[in-house]
Symmetry: C3
Subunit: 474 residues, 3 copies
C-alpha cells in the first residue's frame, strides 16, 4: 500500500550534457528520475512526464512550459479525484479499501489539507473486516449498506449496528472491526483520517492475523518475547501466528454474522458516556430544504466527538434538475464525495487563474498584477468521485435531470464556518448599500438590486437543465 | 499578483560539465535556474545570484561562500523589509495594496511566521475599495486617515467609522468594503493576515466587478448556471458582469461618500454581540509611560475577537531622542511597521552568528561549539519599514533627535507572552542572586549590581543621541 | 553548535557526465555534496554516503538500492539514538550539553516530532550553569544528582532544590540558572524542548557573559546604546562585557554553592500561584506495579504546567529479568531515554516494512498491496540511549537479568492518550467477541482465548531471560 506518501517539494534536476543530443538528454533526464526516486520516492511517471515536457518545451523555444495540473482548460484540475486517483490498499474478492494519495502530492494548492487522508471501504455482503487499529483519528460516513461496527477502547468493547447516513468517530488507536450484515448490498464507508503520528501518513495495525495477509503485529516480535508475554509455549504460538491468513476482508458464516449483529442501532457510547456511538445525518433537521434539495449537517453541537477534530459533515440531496449554490464556505475546506447520482460542478478559482498568468509576469514585480481574476474549474460528477472545495471559493453543484445528486462533505477547519449564499434569498450582495453596489458594479443600484432579488428560492434552485421550458421573465 | 508564494526548501542543482570553461559552467548554472523555476517557481533572480556566488566562490578557493542574507554586516539582514521587498498586488491612480512575500521566502529563520502575511493598503482621499472577501483571517490597524469600513457576515452588515489607531479583526470569508472619507489625507491600513485554506497563501474574491479589473467571481460561472441561480436573463447578466471595471480602488462622489460615512465610531459588533467592531489602541491605558515614550497594547482581554488568532498588538511612541529597550518577548514574534518618524534599531541574533560560523566547523561535530554567540542586526528605520523581531531576541529601537518614532507591532503567538526588560528599573539581571552575578560576569557582585541599578527609568530611556551633553556620572 | 538544523527534504542531484569514468563520477557526486551543503547545510557525510551507495548500486545493475536507515536488519533503525547521534552544544572540563539533531533529519518517519528537540545536560559536582534563556518551552527531568535551579520570570526569582525524578517545566524566555550542589555525583538532566519561534530550532541567550565563551548578548549592542540604556560609562561596561569568560558550565566555590542551595525542595511556584515549581515522578502513585516493575506518570492532572504543551512523562522501572509490554500508545509518540541499566527493546513497525517493499511495487499501483506487514525494530538498550516509539506501534522493553532497567519517557501529543495492553490481564484481544477471534485468527475461539488468558500478570511480566528454569505450562 502506498499510504506512506511524501510531501515532496517537487524538485527535479536536469542534466544537460554539453555535447549531448536531445535524445540522449532525455534519456539522461529519465535516468535522473530513477535515481531521484530511490532517494525521494518520486512517482516515476510524474518525473518522466516532466522530462518529456521539458524537452518538448525546449524544442519550441518561445512556448510557455506548462506544468500545472488543471491548467489545460480545467480538464485535469487538481480539485477533482476519480477512480484512477485512488490507491488500492487492499483488494480481495470480498472487498477493498481504496485511499487517496496525500492531497499535497496532487497539487500545492491542497497543502492546507495535506495532513488529512481520504479512504473508501467496500465490503461485500456477509463479510468480516479483521480487527485492527490505526495511528489516525477517523470520521466514518456510511454511504451504503448495513453493518455492525465494534470498537474496543479503554478496556471496553462497544458494538453497534450502522446503516446509511451514520456518522461515527473512531479515535486513533481504537481496535475496530466490522461486518457487512446485509444479504445483498455492499457496505460502503467513506473515511476522513487525520494521522496522529506522522503528518499525512497512517498505517493499519492488525493484532489478529498470521504470518501474512494480514500479518499479525504479534508475529513481528521474537518468539521468546511472545512466549514470555503470553505465557504460552512456542508451538502453540506458532499455530496462532505462523499460518498465512485469507485477507483483511473475509467471508463470514450466517451464524457468525447473526451473533455479531445482535446490537442496537447507534448504541450508547461507553467511552466517557457523554455521547452516542454514532449519529445519523438524515435524522438531523435540514439546514436548508425546498423542492430542489435538502442540506443536512452533523457538527460538534450534534455529535460532541467531532469537537477536537474540528470537522463537520454535510449531506446535500439535490433533486433531479436542481442545483445547489453558488455558495462559499467562509473558513472550512470541504472534501466531498458523490454518493449517488450524476451531475456537474463549477467553481471560481483565483489560484489557478494566477498560476496560469504567472509565467507572463516574470521580472515585472512592480506592476499592476492580477488581483481579481478567476478561472472556472468544472467537472462532471459521478458516483464515487471526490471533490475538494477550498474555503472562500464560490461553487455550484448541479444534478442531472433524471436522478437526484447526493454528496456528502467532510469539512476541515469547521469551527465558526459560515456558509455564504451568493444567489437567492439572503444572498450576500443584497446586504450591500446601494452606493456600494453602484460603485462596485458600475451600474445604477436599482438595476443591480433587481438582479440579485430576482431569485426567490434559497440555497437550492431550479437548475439550468430544468429551465428549458419555463424560463424566468426577470 | 505573487501572493501565491511557495515554501521552497532552497534547493539548487549545479551542473559542472567536466570539460567546460568557468563561463560555460555559469551559463549552464543559470540555465538550471530557468528550468528549476518552471518546476518550483523559483525566483529566478535569487537563483542567478547563487550561480554568480558559486562561481565567484570557486575562483577564490579558500574563501567562504556566503549565502545568507544579513551576513554582510547586517546591511541586508532578513529581519528588515523596506519598500522594495513588497509586492504590489494592486496599484491604480487612486491607491494600492502592497503585500510582503511569504516570510520564509526571505529566510529560513522566518519559517515560524510563514503562515502569516503582511499587507499595507493605501487609499487616496474620497475613494472606495470594492467589496471582496479573503480566504484569510485578518487584523487591521489604521495607521493614518479616516475611513468607513463595512463588513457583511452572517447575513448582517456592520458599517463603522474608523480612524488612526483603530484595531479591527475581519474573519475569513467576511465581505468587506471601505471608503476613505477624508478630503485630504490618505487612508493607510496595515494588515496581518492568517490564511485559512492554503498555508501562507491567500486570495481576494470580488463579487462586485465585471469582466476584468476586477473580474467578478460570478463571471467565472457558465452563463446558464448564472441565469438559473439569479433567475435573470443572459443579456441582463452580460450587462452586469460583462464590462471591464475601473479597478479595485476607485473614486467615489461626494454624495456617495457622505451617505456611506454616516456611521458611528467603533459601532456595535452585530456578529455574536459580545464585543465592539473595533478598539482604538491609543485609548488603552499605556503599559509603560514616561517622558521618553509610551507603550500601548490591545490583546484578547481588551478585544475578545483576537482570542482565536493568538495575536496581540502593541503601539510604541518613542519620544524624539528617546529609546525603547533593550527588551525581549518571551514567546511572541513581533511583526512591526514604522508608522511615523525615523530612527534605528539593533537586535542580538544568535542564529545569524551561528550561521556565519557554521562553515568553519565542518567535520568537527564533537568539539566546543558556539552556544553563546550573537551577531548584531541593525538597521535605520523609516516610515513604512517592516521589522520582524523573533521571540527571545533582545532589541532596542531608538528615535531620531528631531521626531517621535512610532511603531505598531503585531505579536504572533501572543498568549502568555511576557516582555522582559534588560535595562532600567526591574531589569531581569537585578533579579539574580549576588553569587549568580559574580559567577556569570566574573566580577564582584557589587560592581555588577551597581551597573544594572544605574538606570532609574523603565522601558523607555534617554537615547544615545540625547545624551551628548548630559552624560550620566555612574 | 548545530542546533539550527533544517528539515531537509533529502534532495540530491547526481551528475553523470556522459563520458566520465565511474571514479570521476563519484568525485563529481561528492563535489555536489559540497556545493549543496553551502546552500542547504547538508550534512556532508550523509551526502557522501549516498554518493557511495549510488555508485555502488549502479555497478550491480539488478540490485535494489537501499537508502533507508533501519532496513539493514534493524541494525541502524531510525528509532534509536545513541551517544554518536548527539551533537555537543557545549563541552568543558566541568560538564557538557548534548542535543539530538532535529528528528526529521534522521528519518522522514520522525516528521511528526520534528518541532521537538531533545537535550541532555551533564554538570560536574560543585559547578554552576550560567544564567540564560531559550526561545523554547522545555520540560526537564532530573535523571541523576542534586541541584538547585533558579528561574526568573515575570520579575520574580524562584529557586528550588531539585533531585532525581523531579519534573520541571521552564517556559520559553525564562532566565534559568543551575548549580550541582552535590560533592561527588554528576547532575544529569534530560530536556524536551519545543521551540516557540523557528520550528525545531532553538538558541541559548546569555545575559551574563563577556566578549566570548559565552558572549553576553548585551555585548552585541553598540556601546553608545548600552551606555544610554544602562546609564553607565563605556569603560565600566567594557570591564563588564569586554573580557572572555571561562565557559557556560563553571566551577563554583563551596561558599557560593552553600549560599545558592539554601532553598526548599520543590518550592512554591510564584508565577501564577496555582502549582508547584516541580513534581517528583517517584512520589506519584504508580499506574502499574507488580514484582516485575512499576510504571509512574506525571501529566497535566498532576502538574498543571504541562497542559499547554500537551506533554506527559512516564517512568518505567523494570525489575531485573522482567519485561514491559507488549503495549502501544493510542495517540502519543514517546521520546524515551534509558536512565539506568541495560536490556533491549523490540517494536513492530509497518512503515519500515512498507518501505522495504516499495521498491518492488513500482508501476503496479492497482494491485494487492501490503496493508498488514510489520518489520521488527530492535536494539540493545544502554544508559543514555534514546528511543522514539510512535503512536500505535506495539513494543516491549526487557531488562537484563542482573540490573533494573529504568526508562523515562516524554510523551508528545499526550492528551487523551491511552496505553493499550497487548498481553496479560485486560489485554485488548480478550475484549473481542469469540466470532471475531475465530475469523481473525482462523482458529477455534477457545484456543485463541486460552492463549490470551494464560498470562495472569498485567503490564510487567517475567522476561524471557528469567524464564529459563520456570517455563509456564500453558
Amino acid at each position: 500500500m502506498m499510504l506512506r506518501s511524501k510531501v515532496l517539494p517537487f524538485l527535479f534536476c536536469l542534466v544537460v550534457v554539453a555535447f549531448g543530443t536531445k535524445e540522449s538528454d532525455l534519456k539522461q533526464c529519465k535516468h535522473q528520475c530513477k535515481v531521484l526516486q530511490q532517494i525521494e520516492e518520486y512517482q516515476r511517471e510524474k518525473c518522466y512526464e516532466i522530462c518529456e515536457k521539458l524537452y518538448h518545451g525546449e524544442k519550441q523555444e518561445k512556448e510557455e512550459i506548462n506544468f500545472y495540473e488543471g491548467r489545460e482548460e480545467g480538464k485535469n484540475n487538481p480539485y477533482v479525484f476519480n477512480e484512477e486517483h485512488f490507491i488500492t490498499g487492499i483488494k480481495t474478492e470480498h472487498g477493498r479499501i481504496r485511499v487517496l494519495p496525500k492531497f499535497s502530492e496532487r497539487s500545492k494548492l491542497l497543502k492546507g489539507i495535506e495532513n488529512y487522508r481520504f479512504a473508501i471501504l467496500e465490503a461485500n455482503p456477509k463479510t468480516f473486516v479483521v480487527p485492527n487499529h490505526w495511528d489516525a483519528d477517523a470520521v466514518l460516513f456510511v454511504a451504503q449498506g448495513r453493518g455492525t461496527l465494534s470498537l474496543v477502547r479503554k478496556g471496553k468493547r462497544n458494538s453497534f449496528n450502522i446503516g446509511r447516513g451514520d456518522v461515527i468517530k473512531v479515535c486513533a488507536g481504537t481496535t475496530a472491526y466490522l461486518i457487512n450484515r446485509d444479504d445483498n448490498e455492499k457496505l460502503l464507508i467513506a473515511k476522513l483520517l487525520r494521522p496522529v503520528s506522522t503528518p499525512g501518513q497512517f498505517e493499519h495495525f492488525f493484532g489478529p492475523g498470521g504470518r501474512e495477509n494480514p500479518q499479525s503485529f504479534y508475529s513481528a516480535f521474537s518468539s521468546d518475547i511472545l512466549e514470555a508475554a503470553l505465557n504460552t509455549r512456542k508451538d502453540r504460538l506458532q499455530r496462532l501466528f505462523g499460518q498465512p491468513r485469507e485477507g483483511v476482508i473475509i467471508r463470514a458464516s450466517e451464524e457468525q454474522i447473526r451473533v455479531m449483529s445482535q446490537h442496537e442501532e447507534g448504541g450508547i457510547w461507553p467511552f466517557g458516556g457523554e455521547s452516542k456511538g454514532s449519529v445519523n445525518i438524515y435524522k438531523q433537521r435540514p439546514l436548508q430544504s425546498n423542492q430542489y434539495g435538502q442540506f443536512y449537517q452533523v457538527d460538534d453541537s450534534t455529535y460532541k466527538q467531532l469537537e477536537d477534530l474540528d470537522i463537520s459533515l454535510n449531506f446535500a440531496n439535490i433533486t433531479e434538475g436542481g442545483m445547489l449554490g453558488p455558495i462559499y464556505s467562509s473558513r472550512a475546506t470541504k472534501i466531498a464525495v458523490v454518493v449517488e447520482g450524476e451531475g456537474y460542478f463549477e467553481m471560481a478559482c483565483p489560484h489557478l487563474a494566477s498560476e496560469s498568468e504567472s509565467g507572463k509576469r516574470q521580472g515585472s514585480k512592480e506592476t499592476e498584477t492580477r488581483i481579481g481574476r478567476y478561472q472556472k474549474v468544472s467537472s462532471k460528477l459521478r458516483r464515487g468521485m471526490v471533490l475538494v472545495i477550498p474555503a472562500g471559493h464560490p461553487f455550484v453543484a448541479v444534478a442531472s435531470t433524471n436522478q437526484n445528486l447526493q454528496i456528502v462533505g467532510f469539512n476541515v477547519n469547521a469551527r465558526n464556518n459560515e456558509i455564504v449564499p451568493l444567489a437567492g434569498r439572503n444572498n450576500v450582495m443584497s446586504q450591500l448599500e446601494r452606493e456600494a453596489l453602484e460603485l462596485g458594479f458600475g451600474l445604477p443600484a436599482r438595476e443591480v438590486e433587481q438582479i440579485f432579488q430576482s431569485q426567490q428560492e434559497e440555497f437550492f434552485f431550479q437548475g439550468p437543465g430544468g429551465r428549458q421550458s419555463g424560463r424566468a421573465a426577470a
